[in-house]
Amino acid sequence: MITITHDELQALIAGYALGILDADEKKAVEAHLPTCTNCQIDLVELRSITDELPWSVEPATLPVGHMERFRDKAKTFSPEVISPQPQPLRSLNLAAQAPDESEFEQASRKRANRLRPGNRSSSGWRIAYAAALLLAVTAGILGYLLFDTNQKLNSQDNNVRTLAQLLASPNLKVTELQPTGIGQKSSARLLTDTKTNQALLVSDNLEALPADKAYQVWLIGSDGKPQSAAVFNRDAKDGPAVIALAPPGSASQYKTVAITVEPRGGSFPGPSTTPFTAGNLN
């Protein structure tokens, strides 16, 4: 297996979503994904688009006699009759803590079924399609994160429960934070529910800090004033960070999110250092 850096791996995620990697690259990405929450989210986001590409092609009718040929081929197979398989998410401890996502899926199915032909206008169909697209993305994110990283996230039960709720939300917004300087590698994702104001910061490459230091998350509005949204420490033994934010007021009023390194306990009223990673919320 080839040895490549995280940046190089991240650059391959789009190719992985498209199915165009060579064998070595594919192996490297598949070995990396279970260890990297950011890349998992990246993949789910990109797959939400590659999953749409097949629909750009017009459906077409198969040649005459195709059903008979299909039945003939099927006769050569005897199916493996198996008892109903448990859903992957429900077999995990963490899934028991997650909200009943089937309620959300049921609601979406009911919504989609109400929009069957003859019941809605064209714009109603588009709205339903948009909702279904978002459901696919969030369900996929939940599936990947819970399935692959539940052991690492078990120690942050409350935040994981919030994460599960957030990922199942139809109002999910994902903001990517980028390094602000050359040579800096840390990145993170901010997941927000635009309706309930829940917000979580997710990152798995924040470096451990000395005992007298802490990370501080800032939300900055159009007035340029940073508001502290969270202060947290990182130990060398910590796994991915899943940090709940408590933004003053509605999250939708802020334009920028940024993270700084501050003295333990945080810096008030504002940051004492330059942000090392930031993202635009709008």
Binding site: A11, L12, A14, G15, A17, L18, G19, I20, L21, D22, E45, L46, S48, I49, T50, D51, E52, L53, P54, W55, S56, V57, P59, A60, T61, L62, P63, V64, G65, H66, M67, R69, F70, A74, F77, P79, E80, V81, I82, S83, P84, Q85, L89, R109, A112, N113, P117, S122, S123, R126, I127, Y129, A130, L133, A136, A139, G140, G143, Y144, F147
Partner: protein, 199 residues
Amino acid sequence: MQSQGTVENSSGDEHLLRRLQNGDFEAVEELYNRHNRAAFGLAYRILNDAGAAEDAVQEVFLRVWRNPGSYDSARGKFATWLMSVVHNQCIDQLRKKRGQTVSFDQEESQERLNYLAEKAPALEEEVWVKLRHDLIQQALERLPVEQRKLLELAFFGGYTHNEIAERTGQPLGTVKSRIRQGLLKLKGILQSLQLESNI
């Protein structure tokens, strides 16, 4: 009742998949009826061969019939998973055939397809499939030409990054970043189109 396209009828598909687990062949026939046109359209677009495309599509459904557990619900709804597997199946076949001369005259291919069809292309399409098609098609048309070209080479041509770089004469790093940017831009365009449709 036979459907003409692919129906985003997740509760119906799930019910059929449960029946399939108990060896109910009518369930896989119904799934095949529901989804064969969309799957065949994709397969034909990639392989440009009606026989090969039919084989690829039927192979995927037979895989589901043979082993219902092969459907991975973590990949989304059945229709989404199905199209992804059909795509992979066709790209694998295409790569194996690479190097053989294949004519690619879209108009001629479409005429041949129509001649072979059981009946004229249906005038009534499932509304869901049509809207989904229209939306993604509009989004692709709004994508910068270079990004769209690379995405088509990747998704429908099955070329690797290196092969695309060779074919287009672009640096490998540029190909990788343009493909990624193209997908993300496509996502933004789709979201804008969805917002526009809500006005």
